[in-house]
């Protein structure tokens, strides 16, 4: 074994010992991914399970009753009140007791029977545009169903256009199916980047870094010795979340583990590289923590996890080229749900490799420049 490799192995072993012997760092490595994937798995969903709504039914006809019973029978809409006056609408919306108020005109049934368009007025609470939009979408599909049934029941011709949807890879369009695989990358990046940035800063603060630097270790050997254990820890975290996704949330994994772990390996190399880069600049643990946060927050929010990258302003889109998380989200989802292969994922693998190599060699260079 070459002396260099021998030293690197010694450092890797020391890093593992240091992390695993300390009950606090053991806790920090394993508990948060489990807790967070459980919490986000249940809580962070774009699906609306209940839509509280109120009705101002001025028609009081069979048709209006049919429409309302369709709403109530949908399992999503929960009728909170039957209003008497128009001015009641604002009370219910303002107090957030109803997301939607449905107003049905007096001549609702008369117009329907006459074959003309009848109107149902819907007042939505626009203060929360996402929720309102989703609720309106649900309402639209209920109304579509009503329309189709009314026409066939009154021997009127069907609508000229009908959408037939087939959602691939996620047949029920369950947002959990895309959220939980995304957590693999997101939670792992937060953990490893922080851990790596702090591991060097801690050594600096405790004076052990100087002790390390007076031994024959070369800067790049310290880099590798610090990177490998943190990558392994990151892979352990990813695996934990993957297991939770499959065995707790029962989201079927259709892809190849080889492709997935190859991608995660590259992603962790990039995340650890960024962590080491931070620690080559930071002098104290406090600085390292601040810098790491400065990177992690925008990277997580602008990764495409919650809002699509394509809807961001141009300059941010080009800035996010250096965000390893966006590639990781893309590749985990695509392998997990779609069984994408190496060739399809090249646009993710390539940038991750570049980010990893640049940050790792950059921080090795920064470390050695500090010393000479």
């Amino acid at each position: 074994m070459s002396p260099s490799l021998f030293r690197i192995l010694a450092l890797i072993q020391k890093e593992f010992l240091a992390v695993l012997k300390d009950p606090r760092s053991r806790f920090i490595i394993f508990l948060p991914p489990i807790l967070q994937s459980m919490i986000f798995g249940y809580a962070a969903s774009f699906d609306l399970n209940t839509v509280p709504y109120a009705v101002l039914n001025q028609s009081n006809s069979t048709a209006s009753a049919d429409l309302l019973s369709r709403l109530d029978g949908s399992g999503v809409f929960r009728r909170q009140a039957d209003l008497e006056r128009t001015k009641d609408i604002s009370t219910w919306i303002d107090s957030s007791r109803a997301i939607l108020v449905v107003r049905i005109d007096q001549d609702f049934e008369r117009r329907l029977v006459a074959g003309g368009p009848a109107t149902v007025e819907v007042i939505a609470d626009g203060r929360n545009s996402n929720t309102a939009g989703t609720a309106l979408g649900y309402l639209g599909s209920v109304v579509d169903g009503f329309n189709a049934d009314w026409r066939s029941g009154h021997s009127q011709p069907g609508p000229p256009l009908r959408i037939v949807t087939r959602a691939w890879y996620n047949p029920n369009l369950d947002s959990r199916w895309s959220m939980i695989p995304s957590l693999v990358g997101t939670l792992t990046m937060m953990g490893t980047l922080m851990l790596t940035a702090l591991s060097v800063a801690r050594e600096r603060e405790q004076g052990t870094f100087d002790q390390l630097l007076v031994t024959p270790f070369r800067p790049y050997e310290i880099m590798v010795g610090k990177a490998v254990p943190n990558m392994v820890i990151g892979l352990t975290q990813s695996t934990t979340i993957l297991l939770i996704a499959q065995f707790w949330f029962h989201i079927p994994f259709v892809g190849s583990f080889v492709v997935l772990y190859a991608g995660l390996g590259l992603f962790l190399m990039a995340a650890v590289g960024l962590g080491l880069f931070v620690s080559s600049i930071a002098m104290t643990m406090q600085q390292a923590m601040l810098y790491a946060f400065l990177l992690v927050m925008p990277f997580a929010l602008l990764s495409g996890l919650t809002t699509p990258i394509s809807s961001m302003p141009e300059f941010l889109q080009s800035a996010m080229v250096i965000n390893p998380l966006r590639y990781a989200l893309d590749l985990t989802k695509r392998v997990y749900l779609e069984d994408a292969g190496f060739a399809q994922l090249l646009p993710d693998f390539l940038p991750l490799t570049i980010i990893g190599l640049v940050t790792l060699s950059g921080s090795a260079w920064l470390f050695s420049r500090r010393l000479a």
Binding site: D210, P216, F217
Partner: protein, 592 residues
Amino acid sequence: MTTSASSPALRLDGVSKSFRRETGESVLALDNISFSLDQGGLAALVGPDGAGKTTLIRLLTGLMKADRGVVSVLGIDPAKNPQAIQSRISYMPQRFGLYDDLTVRENLDLYADMHGVTADDKRTQYARLMEMTGLESFQKRLAGKLSGGMKQKLGLACTLVRSPELLLLDEPTVGVDPLSRRELWEIIRSLVKEGMTVLISSSFLDEAEACERVLVLDEGKKLAEGPPADVSSLALSRTYVLQPPDGMKPRDFQARLLADPDVVDAVPESGHVRLVSQAVSGRSGPAYFGGVLAQPTAARFEDGFMVLLQQTGGAKPNPSEEPQPEEALGGSRDDSMVEVHDLDRRFGKFVAVDHASFNVKRGEIFGLLGPNGAGKTTTFRMLCGLLPPSGGSLKVAGVDVRQASASARQHLGYVAQRFSLYGQLSVGENLAFFARAYGLRGKKKSERIAWALNQFKLEPFVRLPSAQLPGGFKQRLAMAASLLHRPEILFLDEPTSGADPFARREFWQRITVLAAGGVTVIVTTHFMAEAEYCDRAAILDNGKVLAQGTPAELRAHAPAEAGHIATMEDAFIAIVVDARSKEAAEHGERES
């Protein structure tokens, strides 16, 4: 309140205080301590690090509560009424909170305003403090730019912005140069003369001698209490000075004498060896130790302290446990191991090391002496390749550390001032890691680790996380780790700071053995007396090498005084005073 002149300013009766370590076990910081100090008195609290000095002072200020016993300060229980106490006493902690980015004057103003000193009082008080501390001409200087000694004086001035009835000083002289140390003591004495009561803690034993009363603590226990002469008298008629035999270094002679069971303590001093014997000298004629006639001399506080430590079960380095010399390293004693020429280091405008030059030969013990901020650690970091120099040349083991770093570092051993091994890892794991870091494997590795554990008596602690080692053993572990690969050069940064006298003797014994085996040792210290153990030493102040040479050559700088053998401290003061007056003269010439 009734505080008549006869009632003591402070009184402790059976006070105990324990702490819980992070690891769970509890540590008794103070064990049943009783002590009292009269109004207007000056008392010293002495003992090594971890003796309980700071805990005792903090109990007096009301910052901590005693577990058991009675604490009374100016007739008040500080734990019950901390506000009442804190408005009548002043406390200067070990690290006084000066604001580096404020000027001397602004720092004073800040503390005066915090204590609500009126403008009138400020005027009279400032004039007095400025005169006392000699900071008058530095009022506009940033506190961060002051030397260590001046910082302590400013700290003292800040605690004195209002005249307290009781002044508590926690190690105000640690890391301060001997000259500033003397000046600080003059200030303290003048305060006592004005009627202030002062309690000062110190790990310098000679400072106890200047006080009326001392309380000697060790590991939370009271070893002695009373006038310092009581302690000194323990070594009465047992203290001698010996001239080493021809051609023998004082430190080698001292090591030989220490092995003698009749000897309580031996230290090299001014080219001789100072010795405390087990037996009181009788009328049976002159005493001989190591075959050399011993000249009786007056006992000092430290001599008595060593007797006291021994009586209470302190461990004198056991001769049978003496460090065993190893097979000598190769190479000639004439090899130059460290060559420093015109070495410079600046941080911005600040010059930390100013054109330093020195050479160290193989097997020499070379000391870098100076107060905090003199540039010792900066020089050290450059020698070890941890900091690039701004100018000059620097060769270690024949190579430029920066050019061939990895291979050059294989020959170095480095022990930092602060314990800097991995605290969570056990003693064994730390040794194993550093052995592998230096490329030791297989049988060689286990042999060297076994050697280190045995030499440094670390076997009982192999599985203990190193952070939990008792203070002295941490330092041993750090040394063990730095010696695993048999370095040719060993760098030791302030290895004896805060250690008890026994640990210091033992440390120097190891160093002596190492040097005899051909290891070149470079060591920094702010204990001037420790230069006596060195073959050669350099005196640093404000980044400049003011003088260098053998201990005898350095001592020759001190003015000759009849009936007094110059000490290293006298020499240091003479050299620094001389250098500063020269600089002032040059400065004057340039200005005119």
